[in-house]
C-alpha cells in the first residue's frame, strides 16, 4: 500500500542525497526563514519540507502532479489536516506502547506488544476509512483520487474484521502448540507456532477417534524452578518466528502511517505558508514550468517570501521578461534591493521545481538542472586562505558540479581584489559559463566588468538596475537599465555619517 502523493510512482525518499551545495543555498537564499514559517514548531514538517525544496524536480509532469495535489489541499484544508492528524496520532501513539527495549526482553513480550500495536493501527485504519468514505468526492487530483481508491479497496470492512479476529485469536489460547525438527546436534530447530485444532473437535476426536496420536507427557515438579525456566525458554524459541513476523507486520503497518505522514507533510507545510502569506495580502500563484533548454523566465510581482515573512508591511514585487536571455546583470545602488531580487529569483525557481506555488502574481521559467549561488561572504572563517582565495575555491567547487541548463546566482563575487583583476576574473568565468549554456544572474558593482559585457551588445544578455529616483530616494525595485559607474555609496555615507534623512534602518550594515 503506497501513498504516492509526492511522486506518481514512488515514495518520497527522506534519505535521498541533497545537492552538494545544499548549505550554500540555504544560507544565501535565507531558506531558514521560509522553512520555519512553513513548519511552525514541527521538526518533522521542517525536515521533510527542507528535503522537498532542495530536491528539485526536473520533469514537468512530476511538477504538475504535485501542483494538482497541492491545489486539492488548498481547497480542502480541513480534510487534509484531519488525515494528517490520524497519521501523526498513530505514529506517535505507537511509541506510548510499552516496548521491548528492556534487557529482559522475551519473545513473549515482543508478541504481546506487536499485537497491541497492530490493534491500535486497526482502529486508526478504520478512522481513516471513515474520512475517505465521507470526503473522497471532494478531491480532483490524480494523487488523492488514487490514494482514496486504494484505501477503499484495501481496507474493506471484511478485511478489517478479519485482522481483528486474527489478533484476538493469538492473544487467548489454551496451551502452545509448536512444531519442530531435529537440527544440528539433534537439537530442536525450525520451531513454528501452530494453530491447535478446534478444541471441541479435538476433544471429541481424542475420546472417540481410532487413531489417537501416541504422545508422551512430562510434568514438571512444582519445585523445579530451573525446569520451569527452561520450558519457558523452549516456548520462547517456539514462538520466536511468529513474534518476529508480527513485529515486522506491525512495522509495516506503522510504515504505512509514517509514509502517509511524510507524503502529506510537504503539503501541510505549503498550506501553512499559503495561509501566512494570504493573511498579509501577499499574492501567490501556481507557476508555469517550461522544459529545460529554453530561456523563458518571466514574472510579475515576484517578491522574496523570506523577506515578506520578516516584515510587517507588504514588500515590493518586481517584473521581468527575460525570454531568450542567458545572462542577467544587475547593477545599481547599495541597499537598493539587488540581493533581495536575486534571492527572490532563486527561491521562486526552487519553489516551482518542488511543485509548490510561487510568491508572485505570475511566474514562468524553464526548469534548471541545478541552482547554485555564489554570494559574497562577510567573514573569512578559513584564516589561512585570503578572501579572494576563498571565493575562487568556492567557485571551483561550484564548477565541479555544473552542467548546461544550470543556474548560477552571483552576488558581488570576486570583489575581494582590485576592480581590474576582479572584473577580468568575472568576465572570464561568465563568458565560459555562457558558452556552456549555463544561465547566469550577476549582481555586481564591478563597473568595468558590467560595462565590457554591455558594450558587446549580446542579444542574450539583459541589464537591470536598482531603481533610484532623482534626489536619491530608493524604491527597492529593480528595473531595466545599463550599468552606471557610481553606486551611490555617497548617499549612504551621508546618511549614516552625517545623519541626513535618518531612517530606522540606518543602523544596518552597508551592504545591499
Amino acid at each position: 500500500m503506497k501513498v504516492f502523493l509526492m511522486h506518481r510512482d514512488h515514495n518520497f525518499e527522506m534519505q535521498r542525497k541533497l545537492p552538494p551545495n545544499e548549505q550554500a543555498l540555504t544560507q544565501d537564499l535565507e531558506l531558514g526563514v521560509l522553512l520555519n514559517a512553513m513548519a511552525g514548531d514541527d521538526k518533522f514538517l521542517l525536515e521533510v519540507t527542507r528535503k522537498a525544496i532542495l530536491s528539485s524536480l526536473i520533469d514537468l509532469d512530476q511538477i504538475m502532479y504535485r501542483q494538482g495535489t497541492l491545489k486539492d489541499c488548498l481547497k480542502n484544508p480541513h480534510v487534509v489536516r484531519d488525515i494528517y492528524r490520524v497519521a501523526v496520532e498513530t505514529t506517535t501513539g505507537e511509541k506510548g506502547i510499552w516496548g521491548w527495549y528492556n534487557p529482559y526482553n522475551s519473545t513473549d513480550q515482543i508478541l504481546g506488544r506487536s499485537v497491541k500495536v497492530l490493534s491500535l493501527c486497526v482502529g486508526k485504519l478504520k478512522e481513516l476509512r471513515g474520512i475517505v468514505d465521507q470526503h473522497a468526492g471532494e478531491f480532483e487530483s490524480e494523487g488523492f483520487r488514487a490514494l482514496f481508491a486504494m484505501l477503499k479497496e484495501e481496507l474493506s470492512d471484511e478485511y478489517l474484521v478479519g485482522v481483528q479476529g486474527l489478533l484476538s485469536g493469538m492473544e487467548s489460547s489454551d496451551g502452545t502448540l509448536i512444531r519442530a525438527e531435529l537440527g544440528e546436534g539433534n537439537m530442536g530447530t525450525k520451531y513454528a507456532l501452530c494453530k491447535q485444532q478446534d478444541k471441541k473437535q479435538g476433544r471429541m476426536g481424542r475420546v472417540f477417534g481410532k487413531n489417537e496420536p501416541r504422545q508422551f507427557t512430562y510434568s514438571l515438579d512444582a519445585q523445579d524452578d530451573t525446569g520451569i525456566e527452561m520450558l519457558s525458554k523452549l516456548r520462547d524459541r517456539g514462538i520466536n518466528d511468529v513474534a518476529n513476523t508480527l513485529a515486522q507486520s506491525a512495522d509495516h503497518v506503522l510504515g504505512f502511517f509514517t509514509s502517509l505522514r511524510m507524503e502529506l507533510a510537504f503539503y501541510v507545510a505549503c498550506m501553512n505558508l499559503h495561509e501566512l502569506l494570504a493573511r498579509k495580502g501577499e499574492p501567490t500563484c501556481f507557476p508555469l514550468p517550461l522544459g529545460r533548454g529554453g530561456r523563458a523566465e518571466s514574472f510579475e510581482g515576484l517578491y522574496d517570501a523570506s523577506l515578506a515573512l520578516k516584515l510587517e508591511k507588504r514588500v515590493m514585487g518586481n517584473d521581468l521578461n527575460a525570454e531568450n536571455k542567458d545572462l542577467v546583470i544587475i547593477t545599481g545602488a547599495n541597499r537598493g534591493g539587488k540581493s533581495t531580487f536575486l534571492r527572490s529569483i532563486g527561491l521562486a525557481q526552487l519553489m516551482m521545481q518542488c511543485g509548490a506555488f510561487v510568491p508572485a502574481k505570475s511566474f514562468s521559467s524553464d526548469v534548471c538542472l541545478g541552482l547554485f549561488t555564489h554570494f559574497k561572504r562577510e567573514e573569512d572563517t578559513t584564516m589561512k586562505s585570503g578572501k579572494l582565495d576563498e571565493e575562487l575555491k568556492r567557485m571551483s567547487d561550484i564548477v565541479d558540479h555544473l552542467s548546461s541548463d544550470c543556474i548560477v546566482l552571483f552576488n558581488e563575487s570576486f570583489a575581494a581584489t582590485n576592480e581590474r583583476e576582479g572584473s577580468e576574473i568575472s568576465r572570464q568565468i561568465v563568458s565560459a559559463l555562457l558558452e556552456k549554456r549555463v544561465k547566469v544572474f550577476f549582481v555586481t558593482h564591478q563597473y568595468e566588468f558590467a560595462q565590457s559585457i554591455y558594450e558587446k551588445k549580446m542579444p542574450n544578455a539583459i541589464f537591470l538596475r536598482a531603481e533610484r529616483k532623482t534626489g536619491g530616494e530608493r524604491t527597492f525595485r529593480v528595473v531595466k537599465g545599463e550599468p552606471l559607474q557610481t553606486s551611490y555609496g555617497e548617499d549612504l555615507y551621508d546618511r549614516i555619517f552625517l545623519g541626513a534623512a535618518p531612517s530606522p534602518a540606518s543602523a544596518a550594515p552597508v551592504t545591499s
Binding site: 486474527l166 509448536i178 512444531r179 530442536g188 513454528a192 501452530c194 507427557t217 527452561m230 510504515g255
Partner: protein
C-alpha cells in the same frame, strides 16, 4: 613422486620436533611483527614454526613459489578457503560431541562433524580437479585426494552420512506446552500462524525489515527439559535413532592424516596471501623474487619495510619505498644521512626481503633478485643493561665479535649505529676495522652509521637518506646512492632562506 607435504617436497626438509627457536635478529628486523600479522586469526593452526624455518635450497623455494602463485588466483583461493572453513566446522562439531554427555546429542554433533568432513573433502576434490593446478605440490596433492575421495571407504561414508541425516530430518514432531507440562507427539500437519500473519499484512509490506528474532545462545549444553523432549522424540522414532548409533560407532576413526596435515600446512600460503593482499590494497606492490645461492648481485625496485607498512596501513598512511642494487664486487651498503631519515627502515627492509624470500614468500617491491643466505646477523642498539658491568663500547665489541666469528661468506649482516656512544676517533677506527673484516669475509652487509668516513672503502656503496629540497626539516625517507659529503642538508636549508652561496652574492650589494 608420491605426495608428502604441501610445504616441503622432500620429507627431509621438514621441521623436526618443535621446530626452531625464535632467532635473535627477529626482533631487530621487526620480523616478529610481520609474522604476527600474517598468522593473526589463524592461531588454531600453529603456523609460527613454519615462519621460523628458512629454506636451504633454491629448489625448495621454487616449490613454494609455484604453489603460492597458483593460490593467488581467486578460484583456487576460494576452493582452499571453503575447504578450510568446512574442516574448521568439523573440529568445532567434534569438540562439542566430545564434551557433551547426552548420548543423542553427542551422536548428533558427531554426525555434523562428519557431514562437514565429507563436504570438505568432496568439494575440494571437485574444485581442484576442475582447476587442474600445475604446481608440483598441488598437482601431486590432487592425485592423492582423488584416490582417497574415490576410495570405497570414503564413498560409503558419504552415502551413509546422507542417509542418516535424511532419516533424522524426517522425524518431525510437535510440542504441546501447557502450564508446567509438555507433551511430544509426531507432527500431523497443523497450520502455522506465521504464514497467516504474513499474508494478512502483506499489503503493507515495504522495503527492508528489522529482524526481531531473539538470538538464542547455541546449544552448548543440554538441560533436562530438552533431554526429556529428545528422549520422547527418540521413542517416537526408535529405528532412526538406532541407525544413528550404529553409524557413529562404525565411523569413529574417519579422519585421514594426510588431509589433516594439508589442512594445516596450506594455511601457510593462505595466511601469507591474505596479508599480501591487504598491503597491496594500500597501493604497494609485491613480487616473487629471483633467488640465487651463488650470485650476490642483488636488487629490488620499490621494496619497503613490511612491518612498517602494516603499521601505517592501520593508521591509513603509506610507507615510502626504496630501490637498491649491488653490482660486481659491491657487497656493503653504508647508509648515512639525517636522523629519522629512514636509514634503519632501509636496513630492515633489505634484510626482511631476504628473509621472506628464504621462506618462499612473495617480497615487498615491484621486482627483486635476492641472495639465499645461510645465516642472518643483526647488531642493533640495545637498552643498556645495568646489571651488566661491561661498558657499552665493550658490549658492542663483544657482540660484533661473536657475529663476525659465526658468519660465513654466505651470511647477511645488518649493523645499526655501531659504537655510537664512543668518542669520534674511536668510532671511526673501530668502524673501519669491523668493515674491513666484513669486506674480507665477502658477506653481504648493510651498515647504518653517522660517520661519513666509512662510506668510501672498497666493496661499499654509499647511500644517503634525503630531505625535501624546499623544506629541509622534512625527510623524504628516500635512500639514494650518493657519496656522503655532509653538504646536502646544509644546501637545502640555505636555499630555503635565500642564503646559498650564489644568492648571498646576488643579494649583497657591491
Amino acid at each position: 613422486m608420491s605426495f608428502h607435504s604441501i610445504l616441503y617436497e622432500r620429507p627431509e626438509d621438514g621441521i623436526k620436533g618443535q621446530g626452531p627457536a625464535v632467532p635473535d635478529f627477529f626482533v631487530d628486523l621487526n620480523l616478529n611483527q610481520i609474522v604476527d600479522a600474517i598468522i593473526a586469526g589463524r592461531e588454531e593452526y600453529g603456523l609460527r614454526p613454519f615462519f621460523l624455518a628458512p629454506l636451504k635450497s633454491v629448489d625448495a623455494i621454487k616449490y613454494r613459489h609455484e604453489i603460492m602463485q597458483e593460490l593467488e588466483s581467486a578460484s583456487l583461493h576460494d576452493a582452499v578457503q571453503s575447504f578450510s572453513q568446512s574442516m574448521h566446522a568439523m573440529r568445532e562439531y567434534r569438540g562439542r560431541s566430545d564434551r557433551i554427555l547426552n548420548v543423542y546429542v553427542k551422536q548428533g554433533w558427531f554426525l555434523n562433524a562428519l557431514e562437514a568432513y565429507c563436504e570438505a573433502v568432496s568439494r575440494l576434490a571437485n574444485d581442484l580437479a576442475a582447476l587442474a593446478p600445475k604446481s608440483r605440490g598441488l598437482s601431486s596433492f590432487l592425485e592423492y585426494l582423488k584416490k582417497y575421495s574415490e576410495s570405497g571407504d570414503f564413498t560409503l561414508l558419504v552415502a551413509e552420512t546422507k542417509k542418516v541425516r535424511a532419516d533424522l530430518s524426517g522425524a518431525k514432531y510437535a510440542l504441546l506446552i501447557r502450564g508446567n507440562q509438555f507433551s511430544v507427539r509426531k507432527y500431523e500437519g497443523e497450520a502455522e500462524y506465521s504464514a497467516e500473519v504474513e499474508k494478512t499484512f502483506e499489503k503493507f509490506k515495504q522495503g527492508a525489515v528489522k529482524d526481531y528474532r531473539i538470538k538464542f545462545s547455541d546449544y552448548l549444553d543440554v538441560n533436562h527439559i530438552e533431554e526429556a523432549a529428545l528422549d520422547f522424540v527418540a521413542k517416537q522414532y526408535p529405528e532412526v535413532f538406532q541407525s544413528l548409533e550404529s553409524y557413529c560407532s562404525k565411523h569413529a576413526d574417519y579422519l585421514d592424516k594426510t588431509i589433516a596435515t594439508f589442512d594445516r600446512e596450506i594455511q601457510f600460503y593462505a595466511a601469507t596471501i591474505d596479508l599480501v593482499a591487504q598491503v597491496k590494497a594500500s597501493g604497494l606492490q609485491f613480487c616473487y623474487p629471483g633467488v640465487s645461492d651463488k650470485s650476490k648481485e642483488v636488487y629490488s625496485h620499490e621494496g619497503f619495510d613490511l612491518a612498517l607498512a602494516i603499521k601505517l596501513m592501520h593508521e591509513n598512511s603509506s610507507v615510502v619505498w626504496n630501490d637498491f642494487f649491488l653490482k660486481g664486487n659491491e657487497r656493503i651498503f653504508v647508509v648515512n644521512g639525517p636522523n629519522q631519515g629512514g636509514k634503519t627502515t632501509f636496513a630492515r627492509a633489505f634484510a626482511q626481503l631476504h628473509y621472506l624470500a628464504s621462506l618462499g614468500c612473495p617480497v615487498p617491491g615491484r621486482d627483486a633478485q635476492l641472495f639465499l643466505f645461510d645465516k642472518i646477523f643483526t647488531h642493533f642498539e640495545r637498552e643498556e643493561n645495568i646489571n651488566d658491568l661491561r661498558s657499552k663500547l665493550e658490549d658492542d665489541l663483544v657482540r660484533i665479535h661473536i657475529i663476525l666469528n659465526e658468519s660465513t661468506p654466505s651470511s647477511i649482516i645488518v649493523v645499526n649505529e655501531l659504537f655510537s656512544s664512543s668518542a669520534l676517533p674511536d668510532a671511526v677506527f673501530l668502524g673501519k676495522k669491523v668493515l674491513e673484516r666484513i669486506i674480507e669475509l665477502d658477506a653481504v652487509c648493510v651498515y647504518v652509521t653517522f660517520l661519513d668516513e666509512l662510506s668510501s672503502l672498497e666493496k661499499t656503496v654509499s647511500l644517503l637518506s634525503t630531505v625535501k629540497p624546499e623544506n629541509p626539516e622534512v625527510c623524504t625517507y628516500k635512500i639514494v646512492r650518493r657519496p656522503a659529503d655532509g653538504l646536502a642538508y646544509a644546501q637545502a636549508i640555505a636555499n630555503k632562506y635565500q642564503l646559498s652561496y650564489e644568492r648571498i652574492k646576488e643579494r649583497v650589494r657591491s
